[in-house]
Amino acid sequence: MLNAFQEGVVVVVCVNLIAVLGMSVLTGFTRLFSFGNAGFMSIGAYTAAICSVQLRLPFPLAVLCGAAMAGFIAFLLGSLTIRLRGDYFLISCLGFGECVRVLFNYTKGLTGGANGYSGIPYRTTAAVAFFCAVLAFVIAWNFIHSKYGQSLSAIRENEVAAAANGIDVVRCKKMSFVFSAIYAGWAGGLYAHYLRHITPALFNLGKSSELIITTVLGGLGSLTGSVLGTLVVQLLPEFFRGLAEYRMLFYGIAVVLVILVRPAGLYGYREFSITGAVRFVRRLGKGDGQDG
């Protein structure tokens, strides 16, 4: 049905979408910035790979273990760092991500060190990746629209008022952090079973930045915005192959522009809906749609 190139594009978009959705819950809805989510991706990827190769667990179970491990580590890390003020929290996540990378570099016996871990079976087909992405979106959507997700938005808007309305701010922030780590770990496990060979360098600070940039570009506080952001960030370089080397440069410029021109991102603080789109088009037709 799809050729190898198309299959690869679908997998890469879907895998990144899962990680970005986690990031979106953490950054877009809770206003916590983490520059360490690639670290959770790599924990998920290595755990799933080892479960698959060494322990011979079936693929879904291996991916589940990867996600669970990432969530567990986030729970431990979050217990220590979640009370820190926003900027300190961000730095602690950045340090964590780099620690994980270096750790996997040095544990040669288990992870193959800098040369990477190979021999992972190919299991993440386009169909699997797409199914997981849809599932991830539905679960994130339900989460965000539940009292748990609403508590996160409340914390983002005003921590003091959130607490005064019965919301346990520390606990909710930790939940958001663990949620984003589980998603990153899920994405990592899938990615490992697509690439078949993973190295610690795949999940470096650049990858963490890319996740944040995608979330900001797509729009904070919007899951559909995150889908849009992922499509833009992952697909544009495929269409402009020659410019692939400059992609980080373009992302950087794009983010600066977005923050200056449209601080809420491409699609911030609202969700795409069919009825909304119809209304918008009607309004455009009447010629008074200037406020979009």
Binding site: S146, K147, Y148, E157, N165
Partner: protein
């Protein structure tokens, strides 16, 4: 009547500033009591200490017979203490309805698994919370604004929304920090009626900080006057108005 809230010899200092100093207060269940005093007297600090935003340096706070001196803010809310803020604190980017729904969520009985899988318990509780929230919007007359962004409301409506949100947590005690600030005489009179109606309908006890003396006089049976973190006088409105110290320190100017 039993006391719902008692503060005994509570103190709170910031560096060298004794914001509240050996302060005591008892609030009978069902009362509407005033807390007045000049700027910087420590009124808001008392609210912040009751609700766990600040931890008292000394003294004890009891609510419904329970020691709440060391509770966290969210625990104070869960025990039944709701409040509004002097400088309004809404969830600005969220809709008017969501602001109140979030307060209703405190009593929404479903678990994470129900939510992630959209089980019936979740859908039912969510619908209930929304309906309840609409009810509270109706009480403050904001039912037509449910879909608007909270931050886009005019100032007076924002104050009403904050009260609706506080009431939606189902409190036994409501702390209002200058609810009539920025209101004209007509709006202040409406506010007085509104607070009386709240007490009637929800049997809520009210402690109110207010600079508008007409509001305090019309609403409160009793009143505590604060100056430099200490109680200057406490008693019925009649006694307060006749107290020479109070007249000198506080009422002097605008009663003349």
């Amino acid at each position: 009547m039993a006391d719902l809230l008692t503060l005994s010899n509570v103190s709170k200092a910031f560096g060298g500033v004794h914001a509240i100093d050996d302060f005591s207060l008892s609030l009978p269940e069902g009362a509407i009591q005033g807390l007045i005093g000049p700027n910087g007297a420590g009124k808001t600090t008392i609210f912040n200490t009751i609700t766990g935003i600040y931890r008292a340096d000394a003294g004890e706070i009891r609510f419904a017979g329970e020691d709440i001196t060391a509770v966290q803010p969210h625990q104070a809310a869960q025990k039944g203490i709701a409040r509004t803020f002097q400088n309004i604190r809404l969830f600005g980017n969220l809709s008017v309805l969501e602001n109140v729904v979030i307060a209703c969520n405190m009593h929404a009985g479903y678990h994470l698994a129900d939510a992630l899988l959209r089980l019936p318990a979740y859908r039912r509780a969510k619908a209930e919370a929304e309906e309840k929230a609409r009810g509270f919007l109706e009480i403050v007359g904001l039912q037509d604004k449910a879909g608007e962004r909270a931050a886009s409301l005019p100032y007076g409506h924002q104050r009403k929304l904050e009260i609706a949100r506080a009431m939606a947590t189902g409190p036994r005690l409501l702390l209002l920090d200058e609810p009539a600030a920025g209101m004209n005489a007509e709006e202040s009179r409406e506010l007085v009626d509104f607070i009386f109606r709240l007490r009637e309908q929800f049997a809520v006890t009210v402690l109110l900080i207010e600079h508008h003396m007409d509001v305090v006089t019309n609403l409160c049976e009793r009143c505590t006057v604060l100056n430099f973190g200490r109680t200057l006088a406490s008693g019925s409105m009649e006694e307060i108005r006749k107290n020479p110290e109070v007249v000198a320190a506080y009422l002097g100017g605008d009663e003349a």
